[in-house]
């Protein structure tokens, strides 16, 4: 049963029928999917959801597709880890990691949004899908399109690192490198999206694409035992994830699936690209664009489209926003790996590092439940930490040499008698 009602302008409220469009023709405001929730009353229950396979599609009634997904049917339902070691280090009582660094199939939460966007693209009859990306999104579009038998185009800045090109190229996508400054590349992509009859995931099907993020929020609440957390920390690039996590919580409350726990939402950015965090700290809703300069490339959006809305959600829910330096990002990546065995990408370092800073400043209370959203895998951003990890100690293939090393480590007592 589809309960999708329309696309609605977030600014003027004008409604549009469901079609591949993303901007209000009247005021240029962004469009958002709206639903008739009352149709689900008494039907969409915890029992129904629990009876379904463990994928993001167990909440399909709240995702904007008709019927069953055609792309990414296995995606989502990543682990929610109780981070007991990290709790001790941070001095907090109840801490969870939502670990989308193992999201299927390309190890980032983009698999959630892309599978919704491409399923919708198939419904609309598109044969070709596209995106403009410097990393996770490119890989996810390429992989999910390949699995669904769709042709794909990925637009990248010409000078992007080889490793990132490889992460999309392996899936047989058509990669177009564009010369020029960020703004020129960005504008060209918008022009291409307007001119060709393709599903450009973060342009003409963006309202559907963005809704995929809600599945992360639904999963957190179900995995906590049908409870909304008191505090949730999300990394911010465009700011979309922040708004969609808030929407997911509101929807579950409205449908009676969880109690209202007055969840506060917190945003995390790198200091080298922190326009939303700055606006929250300055107590203004004006987002001043910046030129991004940070190792957290997946968050490096200098003029975030959803910045205004993310700012509003953070302030309305009683949350906060923080930013940390590149050095602090690396430290936090190491801390997460060493305490919980989770190798997150730089954005994960941003989330943990900002949470740590907010715990220390008292913005995040120590005695209530906190969820940290880790959205990508560290294997994709190895260059950021290559100089920060311990190098192997080299020995000859000789037990004597190893004994000397073990003795230096104080392991003599471990020798079997």
């Amino acid at each position: 049963m589809s309960i999708v009602r329309a696309l609605k302008c977030r600014e003027c409220g004008h409604e549009y029928k469901i079609e591949p469009t993303h901007v209000c023709e009247f005021c240029f405001g962004p469009l958002e999917v709206v639903y008739d929730y009352e149709k689900l009353e008494g039907v969409f229950t915890r029992e129904l959801i629990e009876s379904r396979p463990q994928t993001m599609w167990r909440y399909k009634e709240l995702l904007p597709i008709d019927g069953e997904p055609t792309v990414g049917a296995q995606n989502g339902f990543t682990p929610l880890v109780r981070a007991r070691n990290l709790e001790k280090v941070l001095g907090v009582k109840e801490l969870y990691i939502k670990n989308d660094s193992v999201c299927y199939p390309t190890l980032s939460f983009k698999d959630r949004v892309v599978s919704v966007a491409l399923s919708k693209a198939v419904e609309f009859g598109f044969k070709t899908v596209a995106c403009a990306s410097t990393g996770n999104l490119a890989g996810s579009v390429a992989a999910n399109a390949a699995a669904a038998g769709l042709e794909s185009y990925v637009f990248i800045p010409k000078d992007l690192e080889q490793g990132k090109i490889l992460g999309a190229g392996i899936f047989g996508t058509k990669i177009i490198g564009i010369e020029g400054k960020y703004d020129d590349v960005n504008r060209l992509c918008s022009e291409v999206a307007g001119k060709y009859g393709w599903a450009f995931v973060n342009v003409n099907v963006r309202p559907f694409y963005a809704e995929g993020s809600k599945s992360l929020g639904y999963e957190v609440m179900e995995q906590m035992g049908w409870k909304a957390p008191k505090h949730i920390v999300v990394p911010m690039a465009s700011g979309s994830l922040c708004t969609k996590v808030a929407k997911s919580i509101k929807e579950f409350i409205q449908l009676g699936l969880v109690e209202d726990n007055s969840t506060a939402i917190y945003g995390a950015q790198a200091t080298g690209c922190s326009p939303i965090a700055k606006s929250v700290k300055d107590a203004t809703d004006l987002i001043h664009p910046v030129h991004a300069d940070t190792i957290a490339k997946s968050l490096a959006i200098g003029n975030p489209a959803d910045g205004f809305y993310a700012n509003r959600i953070i302030r309305e829910t009683g949350g906060w926003a923080e930013d940390i330096s590149d050095e602090e990002i690396v430290d936090a990546m190491k801390l997460l790996a060493e305490t919980e065995g989770i190798f997150a990408e730089t954005a994960g370092g941003v989330t943990l590092g900002c949470a740590q800073k907010m715990i220390e400043s008292g913005k995040l209370p120590r005695d209530e439940s906190i969820v940290l959203c880790i959205t990508g895998n560290g294997l994709k951003t190895q260059e950021a930490i290559v100089d920060a990890i311990n190098k192997p100690r080299i020995i000859a293939a000789s037990l004597k040499e190893f004994d000397a090393l073990a003795e230096a480590d104080g392991k003599t007592d471990d020798i079997l008698k």
């Binding site: 009247f26 405001g29 918008s190 307007g194 465009s238 489209a305």
Partner: protein, 79 residues
């Protein structure tokens, strides 16, 4: 082609009649759809309609005047 852009004006450009000059210099139809002007900054949502090369030249001219030009989607490139 029709191109929809956000123009951001800074304290140097906010008082200048730049959209008027644009329509005099280029054969494009300009259509302001949203605008917010403050003392030191201005934001205008503008649609430009005309031949592709003329629209592109007009956008380059705007940037050369010190106006920040962005597509209506703002950030098309994501991580």
């Amino acid at each position: 082609m029709k191109m929809r852009v956000y123009l951001t004006f800074n304290s140097n450009t906010v008082c200048e009649p730049i959209i008027y000059k644009l329509s005099k210099a280029f054969d494009v139809i300009t259509n302001i759809r949203t605008a917010e002007v403050k003392e030191n900054t201005g934001l205008v949502g503008l649609e430009l309609d005309g031949a592709t090369d003329v629209v592109e030249a007009a956008l380059e001219w705007l940037a050369a005047q010190g106006v920040h030009v962005e597509p209506i989607e703002q950030n098309v490139i994501e991580g």
